[in-house]
């Protein structure tokens, strides 16, 4: 799995960071997504898929 994020589309909801805080973080200043791990291990992938599906800005793209 390869993860990418679109910081311009991000609306700072933080739902990805709540779901998978080892893969996504929020910038302190404005809450915009920061990608911590672009290639998460298999056991984290279900949460990463949830984060992508639930992103209210559709700012997370997965390539599998």
């Amino acid at each position: 799995m390869y993860v990418s994020v679109d910081q311009d589309a991000c609306v700072s909801s933080g739902q990805c960071a709540l779901t998978a805080d080892d893969v996504f973080d929020q910038r302190d200043s404005d809450g915009v997504v920061e990608l911590l791990d672009a290639t998460p291990p298999p056991h984290r992938q279900p949460d990463v898929r949830s984060a992508a599906a639930n992103c209210p800005a559709m700012a997370i793209t997965l390539r599998e």
């Binding site: 609306v11 909801s13 933080g14 709540l18 805080d21 929020q26 404005d30 599906a53 209210p56 800005a57």
Partner: protein, 403 residues
């Protein structure tokens, strides 16, 4: 059943607090955007299909303000989501500033840090429920008064820096503001809430704390484009939405689980493993109120073959979208194991609920703790006997349970 040529009269009555009228399925299929008459008697568009509701939530051609507010369609006589709000010319800039100011305080990281405190509070409320249960002759306790209400209130008071001892006062004002069956009294309640909030923010100005109200007072004093009335309106909105919505959601979630014993049993067997998916299903299927999120078109736009004119009111039915059979298998069934992972329970796009991380944190801790500590929990009345108040959020007045 087919869709009438007359506008749909809102609100569409529901069979009970958990289910929606079958008419929504007909509308989604045959008229996903349809003319409607608001409870106030004005014309609006009602949108019911998932794809259109989601797209319009994320569409910047609609907003909460109106180009000519005095000519805008009114929705209800309540003082929340009753008509246009904010300034048409500055709405986007105002919204951007509001999100920038509030996002850090409601970030996922901050909510994670708060979770120990939330767990401590929930444990205390459950301890008290257990003691009340032991002392009650009939063994019945009110889960609303003992947990669903005090928890979100305590948490939002701590975040905002509002005094918890005022909870009956601001909750009473919130209920009246959201009530569409009391005429002008809803607007009087908003005025009273604004006066109460003005006292509160002025107390913060004199003695700032590490809380959101103090942050907003400081930001307003440093930014000439940030009007005082706008700050007060925002603070009222935070205290209103910060408790009312979660109180209701705890009630709805409890009802879904206790009227579906197999789902409750599954949760009590594995609280930590199942609680997140259970909470998401509560967010999808819980359907507070009988209207939807309100927007006004800021330009003409075409939606599913219908032309919406600039200034038209558009009511986005989250309740209907979240039960769309073209998106969800067995859409009306409460099933945390479903394959579909998305819902619009917190909205979508730029106006996505800023308190979503807070709500998810509270709901996960509440339902995991109830499942762990009160596995034999059951309703102590029939679903049909529960009283629902005539407010936009359709809150339960009591939730009698036993075990």
């Amino acid at each position: 059943m087919s869709v009438a040529t007359e506008p749909v009269q809102l609100p569409i009555a529901r069979p009970n607090v958990l289910d929606l009228a079958p008419l929504y399925e007909v509308l989604r299929r045959e008229a996903p955007i349809t003319p409607a008459t608001t409870p106030a008697g004005d014309p609006a568009w009602l949108v019911t299909r998932y794809a259109e509701v989601r797209d319009l939530l994320g569409d910047k051609r609609l907003g909460r303000s109106h180009p000519e507010p005095e000519r805008a369609a009114r929705i209800t006589t309540a003082a929340v989501q009753n008509g246009p709000s904010g300034n048409y010319d500055t709405e986007e800039a105002d919204h951007t500033r509001m999100r920038r100011l509030l996002t850090p305080a409601f970030s996922a990281k901050r909510m994670r840090m708060l979770s120990g405190h939330v767990q401590h509070l929930v444990d205390g409320y459950v301890d008290q429920l257990v003691a009340d249960h032991a002392g009650a002759a009939d063994g019945v306790v009110d889960l609303r008064a003992g947990l669903a209400f005090p928890l979100p209130v305590a948490v939002i008071c701590r975040l905002l820096g509002a005094p918890e001892r005022d909870r009956e006062r601001f909750h009473g004002l919130s209920e009246r503001m959201a009530n569409y069956a009391i005429g002008d009294d809803a607007q009087r309640a908003r005025a009273e809430f604004s006066a109460y909030m003005t006292e509160l923010v002025e107390a913060k100005r004199a003695e700032p704390g590490e809380d959101v109200l103090s942050d907003l007072v400081r930001a307003q004093s440093e930014d000439p484009s940030f009007e005082y009335a706008e700050m007060v309106r925002l603070c009222v909105g935070l205290l209103f939405a910060g408790h009312e919505t979660t109180v209701n959601r705890i009630g709805l979630g409890t009802l879904f689980l206790l009227t579906r014993r197999d789902q409750w049993r599954a949760l009590t067997d594995d609280p930590d493993g199942r609680v997140n998916a259970t909470v998401e299903e509560i967010m999808r299927l819980g359907a507070p109120g009988d209207l939807g999120l309100l927007r006004y078109a800021h330009t003409d736009l075409d939606v599913a073959g219908v032309t919406v004119r600039r200034g038209d009111a558009v009511i986005l039915s989250i309740n209907a979208a979240n039960r769309d059979v073209s998106v969800y298998t067995d859409a009306e069934t409460f099933d945390p194991d479903r394959a579909e992972r998305t819902h619009l329970g917190f909205g979508h796009g730029a106006h996505f609920c800023i308190g979503a991380s807070l709500a998810r944190t509270e709901l996960r801790i509440v339902f995991a703790t109830l499942a762990r500590r009160l596995p034999d929990l059951r309703l102590a009345c029939d679903l049909d006997d529960l009283e629902v108040s005539p407010t936009l959020t359709g809150s339960l007045t009591a939730l009698p349970v036993t075990w």
